[in-house]
């Protein structure tokens, strides 16, 4: 059911949805240090080009992938900025636990 479809073009995907899929995470790693056309990207995955293209669209909706036309070819590259949203979110819980663990430390290190 999670297979992307035509309707998903209107329904924006956020960063969390975008990176929840292992294939899409692999695509991001692949684009980590270079710009690639669809052909080159899909050659790394055991799925059809349209399927890879849909994953790219979800990544683009989340702002993680930018595309540009070079002649007749569309090339894709990584834009890591939106990952900051994710980092901020996780950082929030990191702080939460730091506070809790500090409270636990004080509690257990207090003499009875």
């Amino acid at each position: 059911m999670s297979e992307p479809n035509a309707a998903s073009a209107e329904q924006k995907h956020d960063v969390f949805q975008a990176i929840s899929d292992p294939t899409r995470r692999s695509v991001l790693r692949l684009l980590g240090d270079r710009e690639l056309p669809l052909n080159a990207i899909s050659s790394h995955f055991p799925m059809t080009r349209p399927a890879v293209s849909k994953h790219l669209r979800i990544l683009a909706e989340a702002g993680l992938v930018k595309e540009r036309k070079v002649g007749r070819e569309t090339r894709y590259r990584l834009d890591a900025d939106p990952l900051r949203e994710l980092k901020n979110w996780l950082a929030f819980y990191e702080r939460f636990w730091e506070n809790k663990l500090d409270a636990l430390k004080r509690y257990v290190e207090t003499d009875d």
Binding site: S20, L90, N99, L104, V108
Partner: protein, 141 residues
């Protein structure tokens, strides 16, 4: 776990060394009384399968379930629909190395329960803001 494990985001993992015996730390993290001092009010019991609640005050009670108890080294529980929390204790010659693992950061997990991940995230964020603020007051008091 199922094969959805690979869809999950990395766990939060924090380790601290406590200048306290492992038995003392175990009592602090594996009893309702201990957990309420440093974490949240609760009706926890150290029994696998025990269902309990963590009370986040105005933000409501989260249903939890104990999934693992291995005194005095390891304790796990499910927290709400998506999360799990594990406490790991290692005796370091009278001191105790304590590791907290908070996992289940999955968008897939949310859709599984029919609620958009975004909604869960926003609600939880609201909850945490309150809890952290409360903790700040408690610490300063």
């Amino acid at each position: 776990m199922t094969d959805t494990t690979q869809d999950k985001l990395p766990d939060i993992r924090q380790t601290q060394l406590f200048d306290a015996s492992i038995d003392k730390v175990w009592k602090a993290v594996a009893t309702a009384e201990g957990i309420s001092v440093w974490f949240m009010p609760n009706d926890f019991q150290p029994i696998v399968g025990h269902e309990f609640h963590l009370d986040a005050g105005p933000y409501g009670k989260s249903p939890c379930k104990v999934t693992e108890i291995d005194p005095p080294n390891r304790l796990s529980f499910n927290w709400g629909n998506d999360w799990f929390v594990t406490f790991e204790l290692v005796d370091k010659g009278g001191r105790t190395e304590f590791t907290l693992i908070h996992g289940g950061w999955s968008a897939e997990g949310a859709t599984e329960y029919g609620e958009p991940h975004e909604v869960v995230r926003d609600r939880m964020n609201g909850g945490w803001v309150g809890i952290v603020a409360k903790l700040g007051e408690y610490v300063r008091a």
